[in-house]
């Protein structure tokens, strides 16, 4: 009669009591190799940063908090915030339009998204800045009818308005796709339930669908805002005094190109890191109550 081996019963050739808690970790040689390679790379890079005189670290320190640089940073942040807000609102409307049951509206919003995702933002900026060639005066009146007032385009389109218009139209096209994906990700049963409660289409969208869509919208929207922040550096081509333009003005005078670019990079890095923190907090907020 053979009896099945039981815990605690000594077996021939087996230790008396097996307890995996006493196991020691395996040695993984590849990890050691990867660690060593990393260490060498980091050390090499650090030496490059410290010993290469081209970085001119004292110059970086001198201009990091320069009033002109800070003013440029302020302009970059202002532009990012304005475009973020306008672009999100317009993107939300476009997304709602694309999901509309009225075909012409859905089609028009689709065309908008296709067109404005295809045009490089740099091209748009230059185009809007030069709108005066196409439209010397901006009229206000009845379509195909009389004009009540009009303004000279060149006095309306400053580099700020051109930047806001160009970047907002670009941003809105991307936000529209992000929001649309978020809305489509919400279970159809949620909309049914909201309608069944007697909510109007608008109440069900604002109270039920959108809050749940936010969980899907926030991560890509965060990336989009970060790329927008960096995208604002394009406005330096239309002579708008953003962060990049401000350091360019300085290095055109002093020829300290590398240290001043490092100043700009440092500030972009700081802002992007804070945006990432904000994004994580938003994700946690909208993740509440979800599976």
């Amino acid at each position: 009669m053979s009896v099945a081996p039981q815990a605690g019963v000594p077996q021939a050739g087996a230790p008396q009591a097996v307890d995996v808690a006493t196991a020691r970790p395996r040695i993984r040689p590849l990890r050691w190799v990867a660690g060593a390679v990393l260490l060498v790379l980091v050390a090499q890079f650090a030496r490059f940063l410290v010993t290469n005189p081209g970085f001119e670290w004292p110059v970086v320190g001198k201009y990091l908090f320069d009033p002109n640089v800070l003013r440029g940073l302020g302009m970059t942040l202002l532009l990012t915030v304005i475009v973020m807000l306008l672009g999100s609102v317009l993107g939300l409307l476009l997304a709602a339009g694309r999901l509309s049951g009225f075909r012409p509206v859905a089609w028009a919003c689709g065309v908008y998204v296709t067109v404005f995702r295809s045009i490089p933002p740099l091209v748009q900026l230059i185009f809007w800045f030069n709108l005066g060639y196409l439209l010397p005066r901006i009229p206000l009146g009845i379509p195909f009818g009389p004009t009540f007032v009009s303004w000279p385009t060149n006095s309306v389109i400053s580099s700020l308005t051109a930047a806001v218009i160009g970047l907002t139209l670009h941003e809105a096209a991307y936000m529209a796709e992000i929001v649309r994906a978020g809305i489509l990700a919400v279970d159809g049963g949620q909309r049914d339930a909201a309608r069944a409660m007697g909510f109007t289409a608008r109440q069900s969208f604002v109270k039920v669908v959108l809050p749940q869509a936010m969980r899907v919208i926030v991560p890509p929207a965060g990336s989009e805002f970060i790329s927008l922040l960096k995208g604002t550096s394009l406005v330096s081509v239309i002579a708008m005094a953003d962060l990049l333009y401000s350091v360019q003005v300085i290095y055109n005078r002093t020829y300290e190109i590398v240290p001043l670019l490092i100043v700009a990079c440092a500030w972009y890095l700081v802002v992007v890191i804070s945006l990432s923190f904000g994004q994580r907090r938003l994700e946690r907020h909208f993740g509440k109550g979800q599976r």
Binding site: M197, G198, K288
Partner: protein
């Protein structure tokens, strides 16, 4: 007035593309009456209650709630669809319970039951809160008021969904297979709440696959197949003395395995062949 049915459905037609979901369905539901709808999957039972609740538009026929035409109005001698706001108000006078519960996951249980009262029916928040707590008490979940839906079992979620639908004092409650998504051991807690409502005189249409329940709770039972009402009558007639061969065939598939969940695909195959 008293002989106006709460719900009158007349010759309602609905198709999805080439598929005819409802092929001229008529049904009256009177005050305090409980109507159960049985039939194989794909027979149009769910489509019927979804159409009554105007979650789906209908292609023809007409539906009246307390004598008021649902979804349409007369305008200069022609019928035209109602604006969204008026349709929403009509929906607000009916309660719906879904197979998948569809609680709002971003709100607490209590807020799920409160919100429609405030938003749709303009009740004061304190009043709505008291009503919500009373209803949660009634479905035995007063202690879960502050929980989030995902923390509840399926049976508990469905009881909250019933409380939510009741919160606006609906004229009629519509149940779309309320226990089909539940684990077998959770079915009874939901059915007992529904039974309790029936005894309280609530007007209801219940689409269900639970045959013994369909018989026990019903004043009248409707058997549907291929988008038509095949047979309708008192539950004893339907279950003990089925007139049509199709109903007999349908019921025989359930007898002897009352405790089992019906194999829906099998039923579907047999009805289409």
């Amino acid at each position: 007035m008293s002989d106006t049915p709460v719900l009158r459905v007349r010759d309602v037609r609905k198709r999805f593309g080439d598929h005819v979901a409802l092929d001229g369905v008529s049904l009256d539901v009177h005050e305090g009456e409980v109507v159960t709808v049985i039939g194989p999957s794909g027979s149009g039972k769910s489509t019927l209650v979804r159409c009554v609740h105007q979650l789906e538009s209908i292609d023809g026929g007409a539906m009246h709630l307390d004598g008021e035409l649902l979804g349409y109005e007369f305008h200069r001698g022609h019928l035209r669809p109602l604006p969204d706001r008026r349709v929403a108000a009509q929906r607000g006078r009916m309660g719906m319970v879904f197979q998948q519960f569809n609680l709002f996951p971003h709100w607490s249980v209590l807020r799920n039951v409160i919100e429609a009262q405030v938003l749709v029916h303009g009740r004061r928040p304190e009043e709505a809160r008291e009503a919500a707590l009373r209803l949660l008490e009634r479905v035995g979940l007063a202690d879960k008021a502050d929980a989030h839906p995902r923390m509840l079992s399926g049976g508990q979620q469905q009881r909250v969904a019933i409380a939510r639908a009741l919160a606006t004092n609906p004229r009629i409650m519509l149940f779309d297979e309320p226990t089909s998504a539940l684990d077998p051991e959770l079915v009874d807690e939901v059915l007992s709440v529904v039974l309790d409502l029936a005894r309280g005189g609530m007007t209801m249409i219940i689409v269900t696959h639970e045959m013994s329940f369909a018989r026990e709770v019903a004043d009248r039972c409707v058997f549907m197949e291929n988008g038509r009402v095949v047979e309708t009558g008192a539950p004893e007639e339907i279950f003990d003395n089925p007139a049509s061969p199709r109903l007999r065939a349908f019921l025989s598939r359930y007898s002897g395995r009352a405790a089992q969940i019906p194999d829906e695909r099998l039923l579907e195959e047999e009805t289409t062949s």
